[in-house]
Every structure is written in C-alpha cells, then in structure tokens.
Amino acid sequence: MSIRKFEELIPCFLELININGAKKLSIQEMADELGVPLSDIETVMSVAQANELFTNDQDVLKITEKGKEALRIHREKYVHDRFIHRKRGIHRFLAKHKGKNSLDWHKHGLNNSNISNFYQNLEGIEGRIEEIIPLTQLRVGEKGIVQFMFGGRGKVQRLADMGLTPGAEIILNKKALLRGPIEIYIRNSCLAIGFGIAKRIFVKPIDS
C-alpha cells in the first residue's frame, strides 16, 4: 500500500468509528464500507492505535482527543479542498506534489469567530464527511438534509431565518442555466437561492 493511500485511509477509518460510536463494527464491515481489502484495514488500525488516535476497549472502538483533532483536520481539509477552494491547474499540481496547501480561512472572507463557528459546524456533522455535498451538487428532484452553512454570521442567520436550519429536509426543485440560482422546496414552500450562497450550504443527500 502506498503512503498516499494510507494517509487518506486513516481519516476515513476515524470517520467510521466516529459515526458508529460505541456500536461494534467488525473489521470486515469496515472494509466493505470503505471498499478496501481487509489487510489494509488491519494495517490502518494498528498504525492508528499506535498513534493513540482511538482506544479499543473490548472491541468497543472509541476515538481519543488526539483522534478527534485528526478528524477535524481531515474534515476541514476535505471541505476546503473539495468545495471551498478547489485547486485547478498549477495550484493543483503544487498541492499534490509539493504539499503546498493553504488553509488560510481569512482569505475566504472569514474572521476568527466565523472560523471557530465553522469548526463547530464540522464537529456537528452527522455522518461521514465524504457524504456531504454542497446544495449545488444535489440533482433535481433529490432530497437532502441541511448540515451546515458556511459564511459570516449575517448570511448564516438570514438563511436560518428562511428555514434552512441544520436538520431541515429539502428537495431540489429546479436549477437555472449555468451557474444560475436553484430553487428548493423547504418547509412547505419554495425558495430561490443564488448559486454563490447555495454552494456554501452543505447537505447530506438521502434516498427518497
């Protein structure tokens, strides 16, 4: 197993422990969930345990403080690289090969208090971070559950006032051309949301 893949697998593994909580999950089940061979999971487990990322108390896996920190960094990086600051061209190359990766949230118009709010939001996600997508990536007719909104206090408040609170169920009704606005069905009424705002609303798609 290459080093890169290995680095990616540890956080995924931590995510799994995190959502399943005290629930027992066999190694085989984990391997199925992540779609990797059994041997990989075993290696990952031993490395993670050696680094004190989780504790194994009679087969009940529990994430440690250190593990939580690792998880937070993983979630932050995931959201940043995937959705907030998608790297293209030379930047993508540099990020991949030189390890240059700016997580400078101030550049994204957030102040210190917004950033701590954002961390709070990341912790509050129910489920694996890999399941979370921005509202704009939902397909027409698909259902989703709002997880968190990314942005300044005023913007987030405005959305919450319109009913986009964490846990609210939405259906994507329409998408306008190109990067146009989207229309969602929420709390018994329709709401139009501009693309710029919609891509900062993170949802977990669910099967209808």
Binding site: N117, G124, V156, Q157, M162, L191, G194, F195
Partner: protein, 657 residues
C-alpha cells in the same frame, strides 16, 4: 387594557402574505405614505373609524425575522418594542404556516399584544390544507381570525376582535412559547441576571427577549449592553451560555435558536393543519414549470416583455391622440382667448397658459397615458407572481453587475418610467445594492426617452440605428454596473427569495394599486413639471435662452458637433425627456428634422438625451431615496458620461455616415 378610544394598530408579517390587502380593507382608500425618520423604509398609515373608536393602522414592511441584519427588521422590532403599538395584527399566509409561525414566535418573544389574521384561507383550502383555528389560538395563547382579505372575508370579525380587546373584553396573555429545556434554562438564568443588573434596559425591552438576543449574539443588543455599567458581567454570563449551547448543538448559537423556533413552529403547524385532499394546483404548477424553465423560460420572458411594451405603446399612443385632441384642440385655445378677452397683458397670459397649464397638460397628455397602462400591467405581473420568476431567470446575469436577480424587477420598471423604478430599488436588501441598482435604473431609456429615440433616430436615420442605441444602452448599463460594483465598497449579497405560487390576480386590488401609484407619481412629478415650465417661460420672456445657448456652445458645437440651437432643448430636457424633441422642433422651426440635422447629429442628440441627467421627477425620486450627496454623484456621473460618449460617438460616426 383600559377602555381607550384611540388605538394604534400595526400590521406585521412576512412579505407577500397579503398584509397590504388587509391594510386596504381596514382603512379603505385612506392611504398616505410617509417615511421613517431619516430612513428609506416606507410605511403606510391609515385610519379606521368604528363604533366610536379611532384606529390608527400602520403597515410594517414585510419581513421574515426580527434579527439585526436588515434595516427593515431593525426598524420594525424597535417600533414594536419601543413605540409599543396597542395591538399588533400578525397577518400570516395560512397555506405556508410553518415559515409564518416562525415570525409569530418572534413577535410573541417581544411580548407584544398580538392578534393573528390567518389570511389566504381560500387559497389554503385550494391547496387541500385544513386549519383548525381554535387549536391554533389555544396553542399560541392569542386570538386568531381566519380571513380571505382579497374578497373581504373575515375583516369584520378581525375588527370586532380588535374592538373587544379595546373594550377589555378579551385579555391578551403575554406568554411567549418555551424553547427546549437546554436553551430555556439558560434564557431564564440570563433573564434574572439582566433584571438585577440592567433594570433600565429591561424596562425598554422585555428581559426574556434581551436574553435571547444576547444568546444569539445580536450585534445591536450586544453593543447596547456593552455601553452600560453592569453590561460586562451580563455579557460574560451570556458568552458562557453561548459556548455551552454551541457545544450541545454543534452549531452557532443563533442558528441553534432559529432551529428551536422552527421546531416550535413546526410542532404547532403539525398540530393544527391537516392535509385533507390532494392540492388542486396542476395549472399553476405547469405554468411555473414552464415560465421558470432553464431554457424555455428565457424566450417566454422576452415575449412577455415585448407584449408588455407593445400594449403600453399602443394604448398610450391612442390615449395621447385622444387627450391631445381634447387639450390642445379645445381647452387651451379657448382658455387663451378667454384670457385675452379678460384683458391681461401678453407676458402674463403666456406665463399662465404656456408655463403653468403647459406643464400640467403635457404631464397629462404625454406622461400619464404611458404610465397608467404600464402600472396596470405591472400590477398584473406582480399579483400573478411572475416577477419573482423573471428575477430567478436573470439572477445569473445580474450577478455580473454585483446585483442579484431581484434587481431585475426595478430594471423592468425603468423602461416605463424611472421614478417608480427608483422607488422599486427598495426591494434590494442592503444600502449598497440599492445604490448600484438606483444608479443603473436611471440609465434605462424610459418611455419618454423612447419617444426621442424613435421620433428622431428611427424616423430619420433608420430603425436599425435606433435598435443599435438600445443595444448600446444595455451594454453601457452592464459595463457601468460592473464598474459601480467594483468601486462601491461592501460585499455583494446573494439571492434568497421566496417563490410564491401563481395566483389569479384580483382586478380590484390591481386597480387600487395602480391608482395609488399614479397618485404617487402625480404628487412627485407634477409640481416639478409646472415649476419647470414656469421657469423656462420666464427665462424665454426675459431673453435668457439665447444667452444659455451661447454659454453652452463650446460643449455643444465644438465637442458634440451639434448645431447651436440644440443646446436649449437639451438643457430643458431635464424637465422631461420627451421635451427635448418637442423643444427641438420649436427652436428649429420645423418637425422635419432631416432638414436641420445630419444623421450623425441626430444619433448624437438622441444618445446624449438618453444618458444625461435623469429628468427632474427622477431627480426628485433619487433625492427621496438616496439623499443629496448620492443624487449629486449620480447626476454628475451621468452628465459627464453623456458629454464624453456624445463627443466620441460624433467623431466615430463621422467616419461611417
């Protein structure tokens, strides 16, 4: 409440629930509009006399929340908390209960005496929703009246409910709904701290509401508390609780509290509403799918706008011919002979007939015939719910100018007349957006400027050139909008807009709307038109017009390449843009402009009159909306632009034509 004879009533509720319809039903046509002190938020006030009572009714702007992030919300909550109206009628849309109850919960938090008017009951049953008003009333602890304001149903019940409160027969219990235990515990804790430490502030605002706002980290309330002596001890406790709430919920406190409120709203809505049958909305739904379709939506939008202008021009032209026949053919000449017979000296006659009456008559014969049909069509588009669809489709393009889709609505208004367009810029959320939108809409060629473009360029140079001017105008607006977007400080806002369901418009409501708007227009524009005509007439008699022509000649003759007599029409076109063409005929002594102007001069003339200062009525509207400094900036920018572009166009066009 003791038996008072005069009561202040405020109407509050979400946008688009029919508040204004309720208002009109309560007050009849007795509506006057005014401004909040120093702010551009309009409120409507009216009076209702009933069984010896006088009710002063105030229509608050439509809002979704009482947070600190928009001007309307702050103004409304201060009005409710500090001015304390005797009764607040919370108008809600019965077919959209949950979102409306979210606002009701906030009104109750303010410990205001609330009556609920559960409006649009007819539409609600059409949607197959049945609402138990009795249950709604007991779960909120407030009186609830079911209304269908558009047809006047339930209004008398609403009034008798108000009267019964005024007589003290119905007691309003001020009991805000409780939150979940984790948050409620902290609210109570903080409330006690506020009561003991900040008695003065607790006198002004309800202490429980203050605690909620502190937990939400409401910037305005936090600042108020900070300034007080014991404020910091309260803030410390508040911040501690905020941290705890955020840890429990995993989201920022204000979102957690919003979620709690929606939980309350949802719980009540579930309890009182029943979906009895499948909604009968297939036609409206099909219409919605078609008109906001990602591809077909655009040709439909263009077609609707084209039809709109076609109707406005056909009806307007017809009315102009009729009205001109009446005024210029019969009334004015008779009046002049009457004045001459009365033995008045000629200068005074000319001041009266050409100055005062000329202004009024021109307003009636040229402006109103275009504006009234336009208002009717606009009311139709508004009442059906098409405009939000247009805004939805255009959001993408408007973003390139730092605006969002909603700005497209005043932009459409701009093609009719710049005055309602300026006022319409109020639908934008922030001051910054209002300014950019205001700057852009005055550049849209209004009906009057269309007269100049069509009457001069299309007739004498060619229809293609006139269309070219329109196209150039659109490009110009786009470029200027972009420049304004980059120079005006602040962050652009995104679109968040409720999409109303299509509804069959009521003719009566449309006509009332048109009447009020036309009245508004007459009040703003007519005094200016009369004053302007008077000034020109006096100047003309005193021989100043030639002097003005001479003074302006370096710009007009050397730079713009126009004949010297064209300065006067352009300068006085400030009064009304179509006046430039009428005065041009006057000073040139002919209506066949081909004899006195070259094609290039005609295009430059039309271009300049299209761009330079908006007419005086628009300046009035700009002053009202944006204040003196910003209006001055817009005027100067427009004049400079017109002169620069006119000169460049003269030089460029001379190469081709």
């Amino acid at each position: 409440m003791e038996n008072k004879k005069s009561l202040r009533i405020a109407l509050a509720g979400n946008a688009n629930v029919g508040k204004s319809v309720v208002f009109n039903q309560l007050t009849g046509l007795n509506q006057v509009t005014g401004n909040w002190p120093g702010k551009t938020v309009e409120r409507a006030e009216g009076t209702l006399y009933y069984e010896g009572y006088t009710f002063n009714v105030l229509d608050l702007p439509g809002i979704y929340s009482l947070s600190a992030y928009s001007l309307e919300e702050v103004v409304s909550r201060d009005y409710i908390a500090i001015d304390r109206p005797d009764i607040i009628i919370n108008v809600i849309d019965a077919s959209n209960l949950e979102r409306n109850l979210y606002f009701t919960v906030q009104l109750l938090e303010l410990e205001a005496p609330v009556i609920m008017a559960c409006n649009q009951m007819d539409f609600c049953s059409k949607k197959g929703i049945c609402i138990d008003l009795e249950k709604l009333s007991t779960s909120l602890n407030i009186p609830v009246v079911g209304t269908t304001a558009i047809s006047g149903i339930g209004i008398s019940e609403l009034i008798s409910e108000v009267v019964s409160i005024a007589q003290g027969k119905t007691k309003i219990i001020l009991k805000p709904p409780e939150y979940g235990v984790e948050i409620e515990k902290r609210i109570q804790n903080l409330k006690e701290k506020i009561q003991s430490n900040l008695p003065d502030l607790a006198e002004l605002y309800p202490p429980r509401w203050l605690s909620i706002k502190l937990l939400e980290k409401d910037p305005i309330i936090v600042e108020k508390v900070q300034k007080l002596d014991n404020g910091n001890t309260v803030l410390e406790l508040a911040n501690k609780h905020v941290k705890e709430i955020e840890e429990i919920h995993g989201h920022i406190s204000s979102v957690a509290i919003a979620a709690e409120r929606y939980n309350i709203a949802n719980r009540i809505a579930q309890k009182v509403q029943e979906f009895v049958k499948e909604p009968r909305l297939t036609f409206e739904e099909k219409l919605d799918t078609l008109t906001s379709h990602r591809i077909f939506g655009y040709p439909i939008l263009i077609a609707i706008m084209a039809i709109m202008f076609a109707i406005v021009f056909v009806v307007g032209d017809f009315l102009i011919v009729v009205l001109e026949g009446i005024f210029y053919g019969a009334l004015l000449p008779n009046l002049e002979t009457f004045l001459i017979d009365a033995g008045l000296p000629p200068p005074i006659i000319s001041i009266i007939s050409r100055g005062i009456l000329g202004g009024i008559v021109a307003g009636i014969t040229i402006a109103l015939p275009y504006i009234i049909p336009f208002y009717i069509i606009l009311a139709f588009l508004e009442d059906t719910g098409y405009l939000p669809r247009a805004a939805f489709l255009m959001d993408n393009i408007m973003h390139k100018m730092g605006l969002h889709g909603k700005a497209f609505i005043p932009l459409i208004l701009g093609y009719g007349c710049s005055v309602p367009a300026c006022i319409g810029c109020r639908i934008m959320e922030t001051d910054r957006e209002r300014l950019i939108a205001g700057f852009v809409v005055v550049l849209i060629p209004c009906a009057a400027r269309t007269v100049v473009i069509l009457g001069l360029v299309a007739r004498f140079v060619g229809f293609g050139w006139a269309m070219g001017l329109y196209l150039f105008n659109l490009i110009l607006i786009f470029v200027l909008g972009r420049i304004a977007f980059k120079t005006v400080p602040g962050e652009p806002m995104g679109l968040i807009m409720e999409m109303p369901t299509y509804k069959r418009p009521s003719l009566k409501v449309m006509l009332i709307k048109t009447w009020n708007r036309s009245k508004d227009f007459v009040y703003i524009a007519f005094p200016l038109m009369v004053a302007g005509s008077l000034v020109i007439e006096v100047l003309r008699l005193a021989g100043f017009l030639e002097i003005i022509g001479m003074v302006m000649s370096p710009i007009f003759v050397s730079w713009l390449g126009l004949p010297d007599f064209s300065a006067i029409p352009l300068v006085f076109g400030i009064l009304r843009k179509e006046l430039t063409l009428i005065l041009l005929a006057d000073v040139a002594g002919t209506t066949n402009f081909a004899l006195v102007l070259t094609p290039v001069q005609m295009i430059v003339f039309a271009l300049v009159s299209m761009i330079y200062i908006p007419c005086i009525a628009t300046i009035g509207a700009l002053l009202r909306e944006y204040g003196g400094k910003r209006t001055a900036i817009i005027i100067i920018a427009d004049i400079a632009l017109a002169i620069i572009l006119g000169g460049v166009a003269f030089r460029l066009l001379s190469l081709f034509l």
